[in-house]
Symmetry: C2
Subunit: 222 residues, 2 copies
DNA sequence: TCATCTATGTGAAAGCCTTCACAAAATAGG
DNA sequence: CCTATTTTGTGAAGGCTTTCACATAGATGA
């Protein structure tokens, strides 16, 4: 069944809604661990600090999953969100740049538990190529196009310096891959059918800096 | 002069505008390295894949920095954005949880260059307490409230497991700090005057998963 | 000095997202 | 079976953000 898949006919779902689906999924794991069979939009909202109306509206884009007067069935809703997000399967991932941040990500077991399996590593440092990280032998970046083309790998995590990130991405695109998680602080140029998500920690620190300096407050006393 | 500081009188600046200021700042570094004296909203927009109108509108919230017919003075605008963001100074930061991701952040020299200096580390692992990371001796988490209270540290990066993140945050709030960058995949509860930014890598991977499965495309051929 | 060109700054319009508010559906309790 | 209660699902309203479009101001060059 493809009842939740977007098609040209259906309304475009906003990026914020998709990001919140991740939060709902995470919240449902908490609720499930608590042993609850059902959960209300109010409870879900509380866990992720959102509004109940927002939760209901987001879910309503994909169908009617709840029961009036009762709430949503926890196990069922979790499975349905997993299906919408496409995380009801395993994604094989390659990681390029086995340095500080790259190594930390490879060592992070939680990703694999969530279905995101890092199965291939690339680097250009001769001392790293051939070495073993958590059971994966680091490949030479030179071979990235051929090794990714037609492989089972569909996502790539970029952990190389900003100065070379675009070159790496060009190769990834050449290999036909369409999903990139980028840690380098540069805006990557890719064709329109390739998806890039950026992790920009400096930006988050700068936001905190702005908030402190401007004495923002969600409930400022006038 | 405080001409760029938000007050109750001025219009609230949106979060997206502030995040884009970070991008403009980064773009201006590129333009500066190229040796340009001035830059147009069109060029800045191109570097970060935004629209020229967006760039002009964002900047206009804080003043008139450009010259019609010419563009914006690069050095000047960069300094002005730095001042708005509060990154025209050094921020001292504490990091809690010197594990995979925590160690990677401590080793990342670029943060210090940008004025974000990690100057204190905390952990609860006896094998880590007292050990030296990049010149910083790891402190016992037990002493976090007293060591942060009244110190020169104003931001904290949380790199502990999700199960203990809230306890750590409670102590940080107790110590009077108001800015937290959180890597743990939990929604932290804090008072209204404390700022939390979350880095949620799983959420980004899930977004990529959704995009691939739903065959999204910015320019889909109908 | 004047005409032409370029690019800003900004109201207004358009578009998008969130919140409101309530009918409808189902439960729960007697 | 009936009433009171709960909570969903959703149009409509409201609010926020982006884009449009153009008057304006300054640059450039003859
Ligand atoms: N470490 C952090 O905390 C942190 C924080 C924010 C952003 N980043 C960004 O993440 C990226 C990596 O940071 P890091 O601290 O891990 O750096 P690093 O120097 O430790 O690691 C970079 C790795 O990339 C490899 N590499 C270099 N050129 C390559 C190429 N052409 N092909 C393949 N591999 C190549 C290097 O050999 C090295 O192993 C950088 O863009 C950095 O700006 C890092
Ligand atoms: N490593 C990654 O790539 C990655 C990716 C996404 C999210 N995260 C999140 O970042 C956090 C850290 O991940 P990690 O892989 O570095 O884990 P880790 O286990 O390597 O490190 C956690 C560190 O926190 C310390 N710690 C535990 N309890 C503590 C306490 N009460 N007080 C102080 N220190 C304490 C541990 O001793 C350890 O040094 C986790 O919440 C994880 O979910 C990590």
């Amino acid at each position: 069944m493809d009842e939740f898949r977007e098609t040209e006919l259906k309304k475009r779902i906003s990026e914020s809604t998709i990001r919140r689906l991740s939060l709902y999924h995470r919240a449902l794991e908490i609720v499930e661990d608590n042993g609850s069979e059902t959960v209300s939009s109010k409870e879900l909202a509380k866990i992720e600090k959102l509004t109940p109306a927002q939760v209901r509206k987001d879910l309503s884009f994909f169908g009617s999953f709840g029961t009036r007067g009762l709430g949503y069935p926890v196990k069922d809703l979790k499975a349905k969100i997993a299906r919408i997000l496409g995380i009801d399967r395993v994604w094989n991932i390659a990681l390029v740049g086995v340095g500080n941040i790259g190594s930390a990500l490879v060592s992070y077991k939680e990703f694999a538990r969530q279905g995101f399996k890092i199965v291939k590593l690339f680097d250009n440092d001769q001392r790293k190529i051939g070495s073993n990280h958590k059971g994966i032998v680091v490949s030479d970046i030179k071979n990235i196009v051929s090794e990714l083309s037609g492989s089972e790998i569909e996502m790539v995590v970029i952990c190389v310096p900003g100065s070379v990130a675009q070159f790496v991405v060009d190769d990834i695109v050449k290999a036909g891959l369409r999903a990139i998680l980028n840690f380098a602080p540069v805006n990557l140029k890719v064709p329109d059918d390739v998806f890039v998500r950026n992790e920009n920690m400096a930006m988050e620190l700068e936001y905190l800096s702005y908030a402190l300096v401007n004495n923002h407050s969600k409930n400022r006393v006038k």
